[in-house]
Symmetry: C2
Subunit: 251 residues, 2 copies
Amino acid sequence: MLQGVIENNANYQPGLSIDCVIFGFHHNQLKVLLLKTPFESKWSLPGGFVPIDEDIDTAAVTVLNVRTGMEGIFLRQFATFGKVKRNDKHFNDTVLDYLKIPQQEVKWFTQRFITIGYYALVDFLKAVPQKGNHQEIIEWIDHKEMPELILDHKEILDKALETLRAELNLMPIGYNLLPEKFTIPELQKLYETILDRKLDRRNFLRKITNIGILNKLDEKKSNVAHKAPNLYTFDKEKYQEVLKNGLNQGW
Amino acid sequence: MLQGVIENNANYQPGLSIDCVIFGFHHNQLKVLLLKTPFESKWSLPGGFVPIDEDIDTAAVTVLNVRTGMEGIFLRQFATFGKVKRNDKHFNDTVLDYLKIPQQEVKWFTQRFITIGYYALVDFLKAVPQKGNHQEIIEWIDHKEMPELILDHKEILDKALETLRAELNLMPIGYNLLPEKFTIPELQKLYETILDRKLDRRNFLRKITNIGILNKLDEKKSNVAHKAPNLYTFDKEKYQEVLKNGLNQGW
């Protein structure tokens, strides 16, 4: 992808990039997909540029698709970051050298960039993280154990998490993060992990049931010694409806 | 402002603009500040460009300040709009002629623009709408009686209103939209106008009181025949605290 930009940056929107915060849920951890290039000690969010003939949302879908191998991912724009000096020291000689950017193209890469942040929720087990090249490292990292990030990527990640937390009050969640069949305790654990606090069991059950997006199955979770909990699935139609209209539980 | 951009567009971020949805509340109407130039039948949101040495948020503050004469306005970025063809037919010959854009600068103005949307809540009575030049019209228009808007400004306005409605569940509102002293029915009317539906009086009173941001005054509303309602103010410190931490009433 980068090669195309270097060879013909006139085909890309100047001074504009996309950064994606890709969340996955696994072993009761909220994980984030991060990249590292060999010439840097810091990690970065997966990102890309915007082809002049593509909508910004399409460019974001491409980044996700390229990095996870998945399509039809839940993806939401959450904020645009445009402090004056956010990237002014990023493309130093080491980076330019590693990226093999020819002298005449350096100006394009070192210009001021504004970046549009998207966050995605993906099924951890279905995603296949893809490197950009064999020297790169790509990994799921627990959001509580974040390494140092380049540029303002920490700020972008924090804002994505803040948005995700706020949106728990506005929309249902879980469809993209849990296996198809799940128990209420598993769903509650997802909420607790995102919110980073314990929730009352009965309150949670009442609220989540009231939304009307769960189908109780005639099955119990197996491999559980006794008092096996019921399994549920999301009612996809109702889930989409609530996603569209909002939870509207406030006023 | 535009003159500066025409004369030296190298000082501005290429292909990037700011558009502001400025809301005011008056006579139980939610109004939006709109502009019209003499050569067009459609109205537009106030907007501007981003100086290369200014943060995007600062550029948005400038637009607000220039258009309302106000400072310290509540202002929030809500979305960035970047469909490929959003402005490709906007700068036609009539517009270029009216704006007196020299031939050699036309390319800069007709390039693809991505625009960052901000919404603001202002005190209708304190704002002094400012024209860009004497031919321009600037007016507060009821959001229920919107005229046709240029480009994707209708989409931007709709998204701003959708965001404002959603954020009623996440943060307090009213500080920038109501007079300093107000009654609970007046505050309820503000919520009803934004949400475009009736709310239950007792429920509203309970919920708004629970947030803990209101100070009841030792005063009643004057000019009311009998059963004069109590006057309230916002407890600014608690209001700011809740604004920062969120209502957190969901889970």
